[in-house]
């Protein structure tokens, strides 16, 4: 590690790339298909008009799904193939991040930020998931490259790149709006307090005009989405965020998703942050890269805005939605680490990367990892235990996507509440009366019900209580955190299969 800084970038980056590729490939192949991924694959195997319709109903934006659609058309619909598109975005992000960091600091910080980015269990997880997050990160980095180019040239250069990356950003995730808002506030503030040499608002007006054009081009999608109505029951239920969630987000960015108790311990060790602050601001010579204030702004401000919006409008604070700010944390961390004395920098970097790697391993293998969704094992259990005289009931209904992907058994698969995906409208709302009615019908035909519990959409306890009170539980298996199967006996007039 001592001499990496002396090597040219073309010699170091491929090495990082190789390690990152290996780590990602392992994650990509070792994990079961997850609920959201299954939904992505299901949507993208439809025709384009249908894809757009489902995406809009699901309150998503279409860019990633369209790209995945093309990707799957060319390479096939295997889960590894679907995930490898995200890997492509991740690899591109490595180069983009290096470029972004290098243009505002130096090679040392640029390489360190790329290394941290590559080893982040959080980034690795979403870079090997067939969802839009890896593309979202890439768009965010590219957008910042163009934004800084635009800013440095006083609005002369980078306009086209900024315009396009913002448009694609909007088409990748709605949260891109928070990045643009943070950029706007940064621009306005720096102009007002004259951080730039002269108080020239021309660049602010130009930026505003570019964003307005992007919003105009994006607006048809919004109109289309509103016209279709929201399929609200397919959305995950997000609780109101607390201060804990803010810190958890930071921990997740750096250390991924270790078991909940480990996350709490890491958060509780916050006094170490005070030591870091003490050490950083007491450096005799502190390298101050240009635009470090920009990175602080676009890292923290979108998080604060999302947090505030959760209280003002509706809860929408989820760590993965904020993934687009995570590269800036790695730039800030790399800058902090490289600000210390040389030996100290190496020791701290090594310790940090060691922990990140260890927690990545834990995240990928531990059953108590909160992010893992082991549908593959759950389905294997179902295939082994359930017979055609039984019924499988999935709660909530959208669990159907990953189960359907793996399940090849003979048992009928239903959902709680009963949902026909191919009819118009979203998932029917849950009521205990409907559940009673539904199970009563099952009792007439089936011996046992295999209830698959996963996400809590607000009625998990009602469903659990109903079965626990009214039926004899024969078995219970947990496959990953929040994924369990409970088997209940429905009838006593017929003997159970041995």
């Amino acid at each position: 590690m001592t001499n990496y800084i002396k090597q040219p970038a073309w010699a170091v980056l491929p090495l990082i790339l190789l390690v990152a590729f290996a780590v990602n490939s392992f994650t990509l192949q070792s994990q079961s298909l997850r609920l959201d991924e299954a939904q992505s694959i299901w949507v993208t195997t439809k025709s384009v008009p249908e894809l757009l319709k489902i995406t809009a109903e699901d309150v998503h934006v279409p860019l990633y799904f369209l790209l995945l659609h093309v990707w799957l058309q060319i390479f096939g619909t295997d889960v590894v193939v679907a995930r490898s598109l995200s890997l492509v975005f991740f690899i591109t992000s490595l180069f983009a991040l290096y470029q972004l960091t290098k243009q505002v600091s130096n090679k040392k910080i640029a390489i360190l930020s790329v290394v941290l980015f590559s080893f982040s269990p959080f980034i690795v997880w979403y870079s090997s998931e067939s969802r839009m997050y890896s593309l979202f990160v890439l768009m965010s980095i590219l957008n910042s490259i163009f934004f800084l180019k635009f800013l440095k040239s006083g609005g002369v250069e980078g306009k086209f790149g900024l315009f396009l990356s913002t448009l694609f950003g909007f088409l990748t995730h709605y949260f891109f709006l928070f990045l643009v808002a943070a950029q706007f506030l940064y621009l306005l503030t720096t102009k007002i307090i004259k951080v730039q040499k002269k108080r020239d608002f021309r660049v602010v007006f130009l930026f505003t005009a570019l964003i307005l054009m992007d919003l105009i081009l994006f607006s048809p999608w919004i109109i289309y989405m509103i016209g279709l109505g929201f399929a609200s029951n397919t959305l995950p239920m997000i609780p109101l965020p607390t201060s804990y969630n803010l810190f958890q987000t930071l921990v997740n960015f750096l250390f991924g998703f270790p078991p909940q108790d480990i996350q709490s311990i890491i958060i509780s060790m916050w006094p170490f942050l005070v030591i870091i602050i003490f050490l950083i601001f007491t450096q005799k010579v502190l390298f101050r890269p240009s635009f470090m204030g920009y990175f602080f702004t676009i890292f923290f401000l979108p998080m604060i805005l999302a947090f505030a919006a959760s209280y003002v409008f509706k809860p929408l604070f989820l760590t993965r939605y904020l993934i687009f700010v995570s590269p800036f944390l790695f730039i800030i961390t790399a800058w902090l680490l490289s600000s210390y004395a040389k030996k100290f920098t190496y020791v701290l970097s090594f310790v940090l990367i060691f922990f990140m790697t260890g927690l990545l391993f834990l995240q990928n293998t531990s059953a108590s990892s909160p992010i893992r969704e082991n549908y593959q094992s759950a389905v294997t259990y179902l295939e082994k235990k359930a017979t055609p005289r039984d019924i499988i009931a999935l709660s909530p209904p959208f669990t159907i996507y990953p189960v359907e992907y793996y399940y090849r058994g003979q048992t009928k698969v239903a959902t709680i509440p009963d949902w026909d995906r191919f009819s118009k409208g979203g998932i029917p709302s849950f009521s205990i009366e409907n559940l009673q009615e539904q199970i009563k019908k099952y009792q007439e035909q089936y011996l046992r019900v295999f209830v698959v519990f996963s996400y809590d959409q607000g009625n998990k306890k009602d469903v659990e209580d109903y079965f626990e009170r009214n039926f004899h539980r024969l078995d219970m298996q947990t496959f990953s955190q929040n994924l369990e199967i409970r088997v209940y006996r429905l009838r006593y007039d017929v003997d159970l299969p041995i």
């Binding site: 201060s243 509780s268 060790m269 942050l273 003490f278 601001f281």
Partner: protein
């Protein structure tokens, strides 16, 4: 012929933006309100102990922001406007109480090179009273160099008494006080006397620069602490007509000193209190950041300890016996500035509380706070981040971790000073040694080492009792924080034979041998 000068020493400081200070204050208020929420009270006694500490921290923070609040007033401009042509007679007082003859000789020779028409040099020789062997040699030195020597044979009041004695025997309109090691630059008088063109100006203070700051880690740390004080702090005080006499490198109008009753003899921090009395008599004062004299820093832990102890004892005495808040004829700015300077040394009590709270938790499981750790962190971290950013900006990056760590570790001497004050123990004025003392000073770091041992044992007890819970993790981290803060201090107290490589590079020769 003018002697060629090497690069002139510069004291780093910069002006903060008002927006940053307002933001600091808003976050501090939010932080303060967090502590007022009764639902956060865990163990009442410990909660209110911490609460008291935080009130103190916030008070010090607000007074710091008030000190560095940017103002249009520029003392240097004032000097130019009132340039004084009359060339008053100046008496240079070099206070000596047993310092090495060589050190005093250099100081006298530097003073003799002053560019000014009417000045006399007086060695105020207190070696006889201080029972130092070399008092006679100092007299001989004065004779050899052709300067006056006033040797006291009787009297009290230590350094203040020595100066007051000289005041009776001299007649200069302006007196310049220099410690025995403070070699003035030749333009000292040219740069300070013009301020007295304003007849209301009582004194002009200049920085106390340590030219040997690179000698070893203690000298370096002492200077880093001084640089922050003589940089943004004194500049801020100067802008508010609240500068403090630091006991050396100061020019004082005799009339102002007379009206204040001479140098105050009943306090060990005679300079601090004398400047307060001068303000009370309606005089103005200036502080100029330009380094005009260069002296010697303490070079061993014992000398550092004694110097700090003296300052702490004197300041705390001011706090209790001459509280600036209740002094008449002081502006509210002067009251705040003097109060905050005196209260600085009360920090030892607060550090002790902050040390004990995690230890108590580790041993007993008692927690002073009932709130979630993240709700506290959310208001604390942004504030501490902003405070340090502000310090970093106004000090222009000159304040080091070591300097802060030494301040933190000085809680023992601050508590000792408080104890000596409360129990009315007699404290002698001890001149800071101008050379490194021989021996090991591990005894000064025993409380710190004891804390480290106590913490390590406490960690095992807490882990055995509770396991690795979030509360245990937080308190272990705080204990670790304190250990890290003590390391620079412990590392220079003894020859650890390379155990503290990170800090040992500059260890003083006497300790490293």
């Amino acid at each position: 012929m003018t002697k060629p000068r090497l690069k002139l020493p510069v004291i780093s400081s910069k002006v903060s933006s008002k927006a940053l200070l307002v933001l600091n204050s808003i976050l501090a208020l939010i932080y303060g309100f967090w502590w007022l929420d009764p639902s956060h009270i865990g163990h009442p006694l410990f909660y209110f102990s911490l609460f008291f500490g935080e009130v103190y921290h916030l008070f010090m923070a607000f007074t710091f922001w008030q000190t560095i609040w940017p103002q249009d007033y520029n003392p240097l401009l004032e000097k130019d406007q009132n340039a004084w042509e009359s060339n008053p007679k100046v008496d240079i007082y070099i206070t000596v109480a047993g310092e090495q003859v060589e050190v005093v000789k250099k100081t006298v020779l530097a003073a003799k090179d002053l560019k000014y028409d009417k000045f006399s040099i007086y060695i105020l020789n207190d070696g006889f009273i201080a029972k130092k062997d070399n008092w006679k040699q100092i007299e001989n030195l004065a004779s050899d160099l052709g300067v006056f020597c006033i040797t006291r044979k009787s009297g009290s009041g230590a350094k203040a008494g020595n100066i007051n004695n000289a005041l009776k025997n001299t007649k200069g309109e302006i007196v310049v006080i220099l410690d025995a090691d403070m070699m003035v630059h030749e333009d000292f008088l040219e740069k300070t006397i013009p301020y007295f063109g304003d007849p209301k100006v009582g004194f002009v203070q200049t920085p106390q620069y340590y030219k040997n700051y690179n000698k070893n880690i203690i000298a370096k740390t002492a200077w880093e602490q001084q640089e922050f004080f003589f940089g943004p702090i004194m500049e801020g005080k100067g802008r508010q007509n609240s500068a403090i006499i630091s006991g050396t490198n100061v020019a004082i109008r005799r009339k102002a000193l007379d009206e204040a009753g001479g140098m105050c003899e009943d306090n060990i921090a005679e300079d601090f209190l004398t400047s307060l009395f001068i303000y009370q008599k309606g005089w103005k004062a200036f502080y100029t950041k330009e380094v005009l004299a260069e002296g010697l820093a303490p070079q061993d832990l014992l000398s550092y300890y004694k110097q700090q102890h003296r300052w702490a004892r004197g300041s705390l005495e001011v706090l209790f016996a001459h509280n600036p808040l209740f002094k008449k004829r002081l502006s509210w700015r002067q009251k705040i500035q003097y109060l905050s300077s005196a209260a600085y040394y009360f920090n030892g009590v607060v550090v002790l509380i902050d040390l004990l709270i995690p230890i108590i938790f580790l041993y007993t499981g008692i927690s002073p706070v009932a709130a979630t750790t993240t709700s506290f962190t959310l208001v604390f971290i942004p504030l501490i981040l902003l405070i340090f950013l502000t310090i970093f900006k106004v000090s222009d990056g000159s304040l080091t971790f070591r300097a802060i760590a030494f301040s933190h570790s000085s809680f023992t001497l601050q508590l000792s000073a408080l104890k000596s004050l409360l129990f009315r123990e007699k404290t002698m004025f001890v001149v800071t040694s101008k050379k490194a003392q021989e021996g090991n000073f591990l005894f000064l770091a025993i409380p710190h080492i004891f804390f480290v041992i106590l913490s390590v044992i406490g960690v095992f007890i807490a882990l055995y009792r509770d396991g690795l819970t979030p509360s245990v993790a937080t308190n272990v981290s705080w204990a670790f924080f304190n250990i890290v803060m003590f390391m620079p201090f412990i590392s220079v107290a003894y020859n650890w034979r390379g155990l503290f490589k990170l800090f040992a590079a500059d260890r003083p020769a006497s300790v490293a041998s």
